[in-house]
């Protein structure tokens, strides 16, 4: 295609951007339907117990409320994810604080406060487990009272939703190799790393409006839910079970969505089902929009984790073998934990060449609200552990952090820990070299080394090297079997039809760019439909860094199909002008009435994956990155802050430079929050700081300059060579920042979030060695670098 036709790679205006800057974009809370009521949820006040009695306060006029209980559910009482353990409404037992028990609707929103307060629930409380360790202990002690989850048809055992065992080769050979490597190793380095829960904190809370149509006998005929969400077809699936209706009777429409980050992947199935049940009960449309406190307390968060590393390494810094053990806290129900765990497992060995690897991973049940999807989806947890551990290994073998990594990076032609052959170009050496150069790494290290002496402000540099797989894992894309369509509108403009949603990342824009470039017409001429399951095909969920690469490729293919049809059937010439496209399109429509081209997912190259052995091609492609953090730790206030951040990545072809930069900067900012600010405080399974006042995300004043750099290496799997980008920036910053803090202070921290009080405790000798702190504080060494760092 001629240069002038290149649209992918430029930065046209965001499709829905004009409406957004005008304040005219319509989010669900901006909508009101005639006769609409409002809904609210009565939630469990305890973590675990049997519901003994429900009392309705006599001073409330209950005749004015619609009340839904578990027994009102016409279909199955379940929010289906991978299995059906998660009830839509608790019937006899509750398993976490804030678990939904009853639903109320009223024509006046203000009346709901009194309604919720007027329901008193009595429980017989049961013993609970609130941490991974307590959950493990219950299993180890065969403490039946504290087995809070039994197993499911999807698998899992007592208190454990899922386990994986990943071997780099055949199991017994790998075990032998591991044993020999640890025997022969010059050093064995062990470490334990912890990460906390993190709230997605989209600025628009979860919300929906539901309608329900009944026949004359009062049976539900159809339901329709519109609202803030990532995956309309997930909600369709949930509704089919709750209402026992066929798919085509469960319509779901995504409204403009004010941020999601994974927090609106699985949760809309809950609030969507609830609102639809209330609409069924009261006979009116029902709006449910959570307030911030309810959203934070009751909806999903990032899984807390504990990761243990044991590494065999030679004295010249060659990694010989690793044993990694990952445990995630899944909360009270399985939800998406098995899939999050899968990504955590596959990313755990990172971008390194390991002769022998064993990863054991498990997701444990606790009596916390279920943890769920959040940008990165398991990878930030295991990569935090790995990249902190690599610095520890480097220290032990007396190499600089960058040199240790340099000696062990995967490269083109190597196999990953799952045995995947890297047959597309991978150049971590170059990424590292360039990242160090862009961040002025060596000059700064030397300067800080000088300046730190005699200063209470200790400054340092840290790096993290990592990758993130694009698309669903293994055979996942094959199972999703996504469909994309491109059609002609009556005025001759092409319209892209996908269920892939826009929630800030730029889905609308990049997919229209792909269609425009393929159809050789201006970007402005392409339209994208609002995701409405009655109108758009299932192009899969908007998750897993899959939209640009997988759905983008499908849009490219559907557009090619449409173009070919116009060329062969409507005399569209080669190298057509935009007007010629419109003319051919109108000509085709006049003759045939309509044109809609549909394509279904086909892998660009065969993807071989064995689910049983957890071996093979884990992802069609990976994005690769090296990040560098520069930090300052103030030993007067014990506050650590990031003073500059350099993010270098290879994400294939950049489709839209402005959006791509925005994705990386936004991800880095969230990850800085993950590392240094955002702490969920739990008490008896309940989040205690469920407000923006006391759950602290970074403000504009907290963030450093974030410098984004791209290496562009086109990838065969995506349209015009693009790969996934959305989750990658969440993975690297936290370990890079803690590595930099160690470079600045000599203090080794292995738990995030790392708050000033944690630094205070370590400096003043209250080290919590249980949480992986090295405990080897030498106040004289504060701010000094080991000699090899400056070599």
């Amino acid at each position: 295609m001629a240069e002038r036709d290149n649209i992918v790679g430029t930065s046209p205006l965001r499709k829905e951007g004009r409406a957004k800057v005008l304040g005219k974009a319509t989010y669900v809370d901006d909508l009101s339907l005639p006769g609409m009521w409002h809904g609210a949820t009565v939630r469990s006040t305890i973590a675990r117990g049997r519901i003994r009695a429900i009392h309705f306060a006599p001073e409330v006029d209950w005749s004015q409320y619609a009340i839904v209980r578990a027994s009102d559910i016409p279909g199955e009482n379940t929010i289906v994810h991978l299995t059906k353990d998660h009830p839509c409404l608790a019937a006899q037992e509750v398993n976490h604080p804030e678990e939904p028990i009853l639903l109320l609707a009223h024509r006046e929103k203000v009346a709901l406060l009194a309604g919720v307060a007027g329901v008193q629930i009595e429980y017989d409380e049961l013993p609970c487990v609130f941490t991974i360790e307590e959950s493990e202990q219950a299993v180890a002690n065969n403490d039946v009272e504290r087995i809070v989850w039994e197993g499911s048809d999807f698998g899992g055992t007592a208190n454990c939703f899922k386990q994986y065992l990943l071997y780099s080769g055949e199991a017994s050979e790998t075990e032998d190799g591991l044993a020999a490597a640890f025997e022969a190793a010059d050093y064995i380095v062990e470490g334990e790393y912890h990460t906390g829960a993190q709230e997605q904190l989209y600025i628009e809370p979860n919300g929906v409006i539901a309608e329900c149509e009944k026949d004359e006998q009062g049976n539900v005929v159809s339901v329709c839910v519109q609202g803030s969400m990532q995956c309309p077809y997930y909600l369709v699936h949930a509704l089919t079970l709750v209402f026992n209706l066929p798919e085509e009777k469960c319509r779901v429409i995504q409204t403009e969505t004010g941020g999601a980050f994974g927090g609106k992947e699985d949760f809309p199935s809950v609030i969507g089902s609830h609102a639809a049940l209330l609409a069924m009960k009261c006979g009116h449309p029902v709006k449910m929009v959570y307030d911030r406190a309810e959203d934070m307390a009751a909806t999903t968060k990032r899984h807390p984790s504990r990761t243990r590393h044991r590494t065999a390494v030679s004295k010249d810094g060659k990694l010989l073998a690793c044993e990694i053990e990952i445990a995630l806290d899944g909360g009270a129900y399985a939800t998406l934990s098995p899939v999050v765990l899968s990504r955590a497992t596959i990313h755990a060995p990172g971008p390194y060449k390991w002769p022998f690897v064993r990863v054991r991973a498990k997701a444990m049940a606790t009596n916390l609200p279920p943890h769920g999807a959040f940008r990165g989806f398991g990878a930030p947890q295991s990569l935090f552990a790995l990249e902190r551990h690599m610095d520890k290994v480097a220290r032990v073998v007396r190499l600089t952090p960058e040199e240790l990594r340099r000696r062990n990076f995967l490269t083109t032609g190597d196999r990953t820990a799952t045995g995947q052959l890297l047959n597309e170009p991978v150049d971590m050496q170059h990424l590292l070299a360039r990242a160090l150069e862009e961040s002025d790494y060596y000059a700064k290290l030397a300067r800080f080394g000088e300046e730190n002496r005699g200063s209470a402000i200790k400054r340092g540099m840290g790096i993290a090297a990592f990758m993130h797989g694009s698309g669903f894992t293994g055979s996942g894309e094959r199972r999703l079997n996504s469909v994309v369509q491109v059609e002609l509108l009556p005025d001759g403009r092409p319209q892209v039809l996908v269920s892939s949603t826009e929630f800030g990342q730029g889905t609308n824009t990049i997919l229209c760019q792909v269609a425009a470039q393929t159809l050789q017409i201006p970007y402005e001429q392409v339209v994208i439909a609002q995701p409405d399951t009655q109108l758009v095909p299932n192009s899969g969920p908007t998750v897993a860094s899959r939209t640009a690469m997988i759905v983008g490729k499908l849009v490219e293919r559907a557009s090619t199909h449409l173009l070919d049809t116009l060329r062969s059937e409507s005399n569209l010439p080669l190298n057509h002008a935009p007007e010629e496209f419109t003319k051919a399109a109108l000509g085709y429509l006049a003759k045939h009435g309509s044109l809609r081209c549909s394509v279904r997912y086909e892998p660009v190259k065969p993807v071989e994956w064995n689910d049983e052995l957890f071996h093979g091609d884990a992802y069609p492609a990976y994005a690769w990155a090296v990040y560098v953090a520069e930090v300052a730790v103030d030993l007067n206030t014990y506050g650590a802050s990031v003073t500059r951040f350099d993010a270098l990545q290879e994400v294939g072809r950049i489709m839209h430079p402005v959006l791509a930069k925005g994705q990386i900067e936004g991800g880095v900012a969230q990850a800085i929050g993950y590392a240094l600010y955002e702490k969920c405080v739990w008490k008896d399974g309940r989040m205690m700081n469920n407000q923006m006042t006391n759950y602290i995300m970074p403000t504009s004043a907290d963030l450093p300059a974030i410098h984004v750099h791209f290496e562009e290496v086109p990838c065969v799997h995506g349209p015009s060579g693009a790969k996934g980008i959305g989750e990658l920036p969440m993975d690297g910053p936290a370990p890079a920042i803690l590595n930099a803090i160690e470079s600045a202070t000599g203090l080794s921290f292995d738990t995030i979030p790392l708050l000033p009080e944690d630094i205070f405790e370590k400096v003043n000798g209250f080290t919590d060695t249980e949480h992986g702190g090295s405990g080897e504080l030498d106040p004289d060494r504060l701010g000094e670098f080991p000699p090899e760092v400056n070599a």
Binding site: E16, G259, L659
Partner: protein, 157 residues
């Protein structure tokens, strides 16, 4: 109990009967159907509901209707004229300052207030001036750029 409250919103005068403690946010959204003003937290932390009241930036979720009586308000709907974007809106659009868009109306009004105060703001002044408006998508970098571009464009006029 309702009180008569008089508001001038985006140049238009309104007299409405509302409960005196009704939040200005709800008055704007429910009574005046100006839904460009968003609710993010309801406790004055996120700035999604920010509007200009007599030229000052306020969180409308913290202002009772009675307190707004007699004031002049500017919401996001009042910035553009006849469909033409205000330069701040244009620069947010061009520089990627809006991603999911939910913080955007408040952020744009905070920018308006900032540029009134500092027509050529330093980066620190921008960081400080927008610190009451949370954005979870952008990491703020595109927003800073949008503000700087607006200032440059206005300076060039």
């Amino acid at each position: 109990m309702k009180d008569l409250v008089q508001l001038t919103v985006n140049g238009e005068e309104h007299r409405i009967e509302v409960p005196p403690m009704k939040r200005l946010l709800d008055v704007l959204r429910e009574d005046l159907h100006l839904t460009g003003t968003k609710e993010g937290c309801g406790e004055g932390e996120c700035g999604a509901c920010a509007v200009l009241m007599n030229g000052e930036l306020v969180n409308s979720c913290l202002i009772p209707a009675l307190q707004a009586d007699g004031t002049k308000l500017c919401t996001i709907e009042g910035l553009s004229t006849e469909g033409r974007l205000h330069p701040i809106q244009q620069c947010f659009l061009e520089n990627g300052g809006a991603q999911c868009g939910i913080c955007t109306p408040g952020m744009i009004l905070a920018t308006h207030h900032l540029l009134d105060k500092y027509p050529a703001p330093t980066l620190e002044q921008i960081q400080e001036g927008l610190a009451g408006n949370l954005c979870r998508c952008t990491g703020y970098m595109r927003i800073f750029e949008a503000v700087q571009k607006t200032a440059e464009a206005q300076h060039a006029l």
